[in-house]
């Protein structure tokens, strides 16, 4: 089969590799019909995530058709499914509490050692996201092996296009969980850093959860425009001073809840960020964290901080004093996709959440390296690239 493989920083290629096979009873093989490039794939592309190996197949946002099942799978050949990016067993203590992203068993035993060393407890398994999270082949390919296929994949009802449901695999539940983690109360003002896909879904989710106002912060005009379409007020941090603007816009109080949907590659021309960048490039630290610092400082006293953004390592100059003195609460974590999928699928069917607005480019899998470069170089215009194996009209923009 053809698959998008990682070979090093800014070096991804479409190679011919062996087809996946059923290896465990609960496995299924899915023939991919749509797969997206995620903002967090750019962290791999930029070489920020350790434990990558040459030839690793990327991709954790995908869906397709069931073509083969193991004896323990509940899926049926021919079904269309969306697959969660988190690999969860469904039977451990954490899965029982619906903390699917903390599953004990999705990550092979040998790979759990690294997580123990880095984080104290092993990470769960994820598709196509380094060997720290299992070393599973991802879905930017023609076929993918899906373990625990009786627990993860959700069957798509007839009449829904791929484009409408594909984002159930990661970014929609991630944006929803981000808003849920902000413990929004009716009438709240919520500030969201980053208007990428997760930030934009967090904006929609926050309103659905009762927020009176959402203030979206970014520097890409196209992305701010999308946030405004969903009813958010906007701050372009290249034109306005973010903290000052937030304070003035909230009557001098600060937002009730803040959501950092930017993460470890935060852009922006601030002294602390430049220092972080130098440290990252000299391996003194891996995470550049301007957005979370600013969010904590701006948040009102007794407010809530939600952090869907991906961080992998250790940071310094974390405003722990502001965090403590203001009595803030922080919630974060990888998304428990399986927990949110059924409810969000209903929300899509009922038209409460719009997902297709996000897709700016549809391309063939063969053009995936071009897709990565475009997404990396032009985040203003390129909001989401969806790859379709067999797509013939190459590199055509959606509009």
């Amino acid at each position: 089969m053809r698959a998008l493989t990682w070979h090093g920083k800014h070096d991804v290629r479409v190679d011919t590799v062996d087809d996946p096979e059923i290896l465990n009873p609960r496995d299924a093989i899915i023939k991919i019909t749509s797969t997206a490039i995620c903002g967090s794939d750019l962290h791999l592309y930029d070489g920020y995530i350790p434990t990558m190996k040459a030839g690793d197949i990327l991709g954790h946002e995908f869906m397709g058709e069931v073509v083969e099942t193991g004896p323990g799978s509940t899926l049926v050949k021919g079904q269309r499914v969306v697959v969660p990016f988190t690999i969860a067993c469904g039977s451990c203590y954490h899965c029982g509490k619906h903390q699917y992203s903390a599953c004990d068993n999705g990550n092979p035993a040998d790979n759990q050692d690294i997580g123990m060393e880095l984080y104290g407890q092993p990470m769960s398994g994820l598709f196509g996201y380094s060997h720290l999270t299992g070393g599973y082949a991802g879905g930017q390919a023609e076929y993918v092996r899906v373990p625990f296929s009786d627990v993860g994949p959700i069957v798509v009802p007839d009449g829904l296009d791929d484009d409408e449901v594909l984002f159930l695999s990661d970014i929609l539940p991630t944006g929803w969980q981000a808003a849920e983690n902000a413990d929004i109360e009716p009438g709240d003002t919520v500030a969201v850093w980053g208007c990428g896909p997760v930030g934009l879904f967090a904006v929609q989710s926050a309103f659905l959860m009762g927020a009176a106002r959402v203030i979206a912060i970014d520097h890409f005009p196209r992305r701010l425009e999308l946030a405004r379409k969903f009813g958010a007020e906007t701050i372009n941090f290249e034109e306005s001073k973010t903290y000052e603007a937030l304070m003035e816009m909230t009557g001098g109080i600060g937002p009730d809840a803040v959501i950092d949907a930017v993460g470890l590659e935060a852009h922006g021309f601030f002294v602390d960020n430049v220092v972080d960048q130098i440290k990252a490039s000299t391996f003194l630290g891996t995470d550049r964290i301007h957005s979370i610092r600013q969010a904590i400082v701006a948040c009102r006293k007794g407010g809530r901080v939600s952090m869907p953004a991906v961080y992998g390592g250790i940071v310094d100059k974390f405003p722990l004093g502001a965090f403590m003195e203001k009595g803030l609460t922080l919630k974060t974590g990888q998304t428990s996709v399986q927990h949110y999928m059924p409810g969000l699928l209903s929300a899509i069917v009922e038209g409460k959440i719009d997902t297709t607005f996000l897709i700016s480019h549809r391309m063939s899998l063969e053009d995936a390296p071009k897709g990565y470069k475009m997404f990396h170089d032009n985040q203003n215009e390129v909001t989401k690239v969806v790859l379709k194996p067999g797509f013939t009209d190459t590199a055509v923009a959606a509009e």
């Binding site: 996946p20 465990n24 609960r26 203590y93 029982g96 004990d104 092979p108 035993a109 082949a137």
Partner: protein, 191 residues
Amino acid sequence: MATQNDDAPPTTSKSGATRDAAMQALGHMRGDTLIGRTVTINRPRAELYAYWRDFTRLPTFMDNVERVDILSPTRSHWVVKAPGGKLVEWDADLTDDRDGELIAWASAKGADVPNSGRIEFRDAGDRGTIVTATIVYDPPAGVVGKLIAKMFQREPAIQARRDLRRFKQLMETGEVAISSRTRAQLQEEIA
């Protein structure tokens, strides 16, 4: 006599004397290196004990164990992979066996890698069962052997940790998690 002033398990002690005393207390000591590992498994105690007690099934989750032959109700023969593609073998005697609670063993004379230990199963309420492995062993060729074993990731402490995780996966999910894409890849990784 070592005295301990806290409630931490002796396997986590920084004091050699405390660890020595713990090894003495275990009895049937076959070596001078003590390791302990605990895992919580979301299954009933009796089920976990029963699976483990059939020693021929241990290779399903112990990667290093090639096979276990049952020689008598109390004696078994172990064939285990060692660093450098070698195999090591020994006979093991059951030194204690309490239904649903505990399995203890000690290697017989002439073992390639002398070892002894116990697996304990304790109720953990709605979280299932706490399984604790306590192992005393004699590393092959002392410190150098231990280093070599570590290089090949066949060091008993690392293996015990991974074996317990695989046991948990098998008992909770019915299978051991594999991230390989193809059978050929899987064979390569096991080798």
